[in-house]
Subunit: 185 residues, 2 copies
């Protein structure tokens, strides 16, 4: 990639993550980003068609790191009664990465234009759930597909709780909450 291009993309990303901590996504104008990043209008539109496309770009960049480990281990395991506890390290891994990007997660999730971000998050989490929840033995007659969705939303609501709680708990403790919520007894 051209060095100039890399530079501007970084400037835009940097300004966006900075602005998302100051105001809601929907209230950030492209003009705000241009002013802060010192990038010209024509340059911005050469890279992104819309503000949403920028958010999606930032989002995917984060998730590449957050889900790196889970993707490696994908499709090597299956859910079984106690085997799930072995996946604890994957869950912890995700929470660790989230904590690393504290401010960004906090900024985006406080915002209203979270839909795009959360949809991408759900996609990633669902792929994770899709691999490991096929033999999930609890919750009786609830359809398997729905069980997976419930697991995903449970993960997200716990994450939001953690964020609103200012990351008071350790990633291990939060992982424990998730596992307790998923596995009865």
């Amino acid at each position: 990639m051209d060095k100039r291009e890399e530079k501007t993309l970084n400037k835009i990303h940097y300004s966006f993550t900075k602005l998302i901590n100051e105001k809601d996504y929907e209230n950030i104008t492209i003009q705000d980003i241009l002013d802060d990043s010192k990038v010209s209008r024509s340059t911005f539109y050469a890279h992104y068609k819309t503000k949403d496309e920028l958010l999606l770009s930032v989002t995917n960049h984060i998730f590449t790191h957050v889900f790196s480990k889970t993707l490696e281990e994908e499709k090597t395991h299956d859910f079984s009664k106690d085997a799930f506890y072995d996946y604890r390290h994957l869950i912890e891994h995700i929470f660790y990465h989230v904590r690393d990007e504290k401010e960004l997660f906090k900024g985006i999730l406080k915002s209203n234009g979270t839909q795009i971000f959360l949809d991408e998050f759900r996609k990633q989490l669902f792929r994770f759930a899709d691999s490991y929840f096929n033999n999930y033995p609890y919750r009786g007659n609830v359809p398997t597909d729905l069980k997976k969705h419930i697991a995903v939303e449970t993960f997200i609501v716990i994450l939001k709780y953690w964020i609103n709680n200012n990351f008071k708990e350790t990633p291990e403790e939060i992982s424990e909450y998730f596992i307790r919520a998923i596995i009865p007894e």
Copy 2:
């Protein structure tokens, strides 16, 4: 209330619920609403400051009906091991009302400007959970407050599943899923 006022409010509400089934909330302009409802710009702004305020108005109007029964029975019960099954009728009541307003729920939840709607929905559901989940005995060391949030999100994700499934299941079946998701075994 002045008959004229009631008339215009109805026209606006009607056009909004009609448009929300045609396109995403964020893509509906106030001009669209004006064109469809034949209400003038000045009149619209005499009643609503923003489009969000309109959505909130429609939202609260729906939830007045949906949660009517749960509000009546509020603070008369407490959660206990099997007592929860007695609240099944309240849950069913909510799902029944949702099905009555099928199109509106489908339209709004398909959309991206759902945040306002869902936040209000969460508020109502949380108040419900807040009354009945104080002695919820499962999920071990997970904080009570978090348990309530998990219950709320579980409810919502099941509702979304139902909607995407085109209301194939009966309200009773969907209620059963929710109870199965909340109460182990």
